[in-house]
C-alpha cells in the first residue's frame, strides 16, 4: 500500500490569522435526487447526517456533508474510510440515477483560524463575509482570486477551505499573502 500524503504536508503560516493545511481528508462527490428516500438513507448511513438545506453544511466527529448544488453533495469521512465509503454509496444507490466519486486525493483542505479570519477570505473572494451574512453552518462555493474553491466556517473564528489539489500551492500562498501581519483591514 502506498503512503498517501496530502498536497502540502501540513504546511502552516502564522500571520494575523493562522493558515494551515489540514492533511488528508476523505471526500466523496455524491450526485443524485435529494428527494429520493434511497438517496437520503444512503447519505445518512455513510456520514450520519441528513441532507443539508441549500448552502448548508453539517460536520460532526470527522464526518459530515455539504450542499454543493441542488443535485450534488460533498460527503466528508475520515481519509482511511473514503474508498470503502464511496463503494458503499455506489452499492446503496445501484439502479438509481446517482454517482459517487472518491475525490479525496484530488483536493486540498486548508484552515484559516484567528480573530480576523473573515478578513483573510474577504480579501480574495467576491463574497459578503460580514457576520450578518455568513455564519457557521453555511458553505459557499466561489473563487479565491483566480481559482475555484469552497469554504465554510468550522468555528466562530475558523474557516475550512476546499480547493483542487493541483492549485494547493497557489491557494496556500494566496491565503498567506492575505494574512500577512499589518495587512488587517479592520472592517469585518
Amino acid at each position: 500500500m502506498s503512503n498517501a500524503v496530502s498536497a502540502l504536508n501540513h504546511a502552516s503560516y502564522q500571520g494575523f490569522a493562522l493558515v494551515e493545511e489540514m492533511g488528508l481528508q476523505g471526500m466523496i462527490t455524491l450526485r443524485g435526487d435529494f428527494a429520493d428516500a434511497t438517496f437520503q438513507k444512503a447519505v445518512k448511513d455513510v456520514c450520519g447526517q441528513d441532507i443539508p438545506g441549500q448552502r448548508e453544511v453539517t460536520v460532526a466527529d470527522g464526518k459530515g456533508v455539504a450542499w454543493m448544488s441542488p443535485d450534488e453533495l460533498l460527503v466528508l469521512v475520515p481519509y482511511s474510510d473514503s474508498a470503502s465509503a464511496a463503494m458503499d454509496l455506489a452499492e446503496a444507490l445501484k439502479g438509481t440515477h446517482a454517482l459517487a466519486a472518491n475525490v479525496s486525493d484530488a483536493r486540498v483542505v486548508i484552515r484559516v483560524k484567528g480573530e480576523n479570519a473573515r478578513e483573510v477570505i474577504a480579501k480574495i473572494a467576491p463574497v459578503d463575509l460580514s457576520v450578518a451574512s455568513f455564519q457557521p453552518g453555511q458553505i459557499r462555493r466561489t473563487r479565491l482570486a483566480q481559482v475555484a474553491a469552497a469554504f465554510w466556517m468550522s468555528g466562530e473564528d475558523e474557516f475550512t477551505i476546499v480547493a483542487f489539489r493541483s492549485v494547493a500551492d497557489y491557494v496556500f500562498n494566496l491565503l498567506k499573502t492575505s494574512a500577512i501581519k499589518g495587512s488587517e483591514v479592520g472592517y469585518l
Binding site: S69, P70, P126, R141, T142, R143
Partner: protein, 110 residues
C-alpha cells in the same frame, strides 16, 4: 459590476463568479438540418438594444446554467430563472412589459 442571483443556489453572484453563455432560447438545428437553418442557429443573433434574454453559468459556484433577462442598454437586471424551460416565465415577461411599455415583447422579432 453585474450581479445575478443564481436560481439554483440562491447566491447573489457577481460577474467574476459567472460565465456568459450568449443568447438564450435558441432553437438548435443539428445534423440533418438544412444549411440555412444551421447557419441561423450557429451565427444569427438578435443582439437587441434593450431587453435581452441570456444564458449564464454559475461557473465559480454551483456550476449550474441558468437564464437571465436584462437590458443591454442600462444593464438593468429584470430577473433570473431556471434553465429547464424553453421560454421566459410569463410573470417575468409581464414584469418587463410593465417596466418597458415600448418593448415589443418576447419573440416579437422572430
Amino acid at each position: 459590476m453585474l450581479i445575478l442571483e443564481c436560481p439554483y443556489c440562491g447566491v447573489a453572484a457577481e460577474e467574476t463568479e459567472l460565465a456568459a453563455g450568449g443568447e438564450a432560447h435558441l432553437t438548435r438545428f443539428g445534423p440533418g438540418s438544412s444549411d440555412d437553418d444551421f447557419e441561423t442557429y450557429m451565427f444569427m443573433r438578435e443582439n437587441p438594444k434593450g431587453v435581452n434574454f441570456e444564458r449564464w453559468r454559475h461557473a465559480n459556484g454551483c456550476g449550474k446554467w441558468f437564464h437571465a433577462a436584462r437590458c443591454t442598454m442600462t444593464l438593468e437586471v429584470f430577473g433570473t430563472y431556471s434553465a429547464q424551460t424553453y421560454e421566459p416565465p410569463a410573470d417575468l415577461i409581464k414584469a418587463i412589459k410593465k417596466k418597458r411599455p415600448d418593448w415589443p415583447g418576447y419573440g416579437a422579432h422572430k
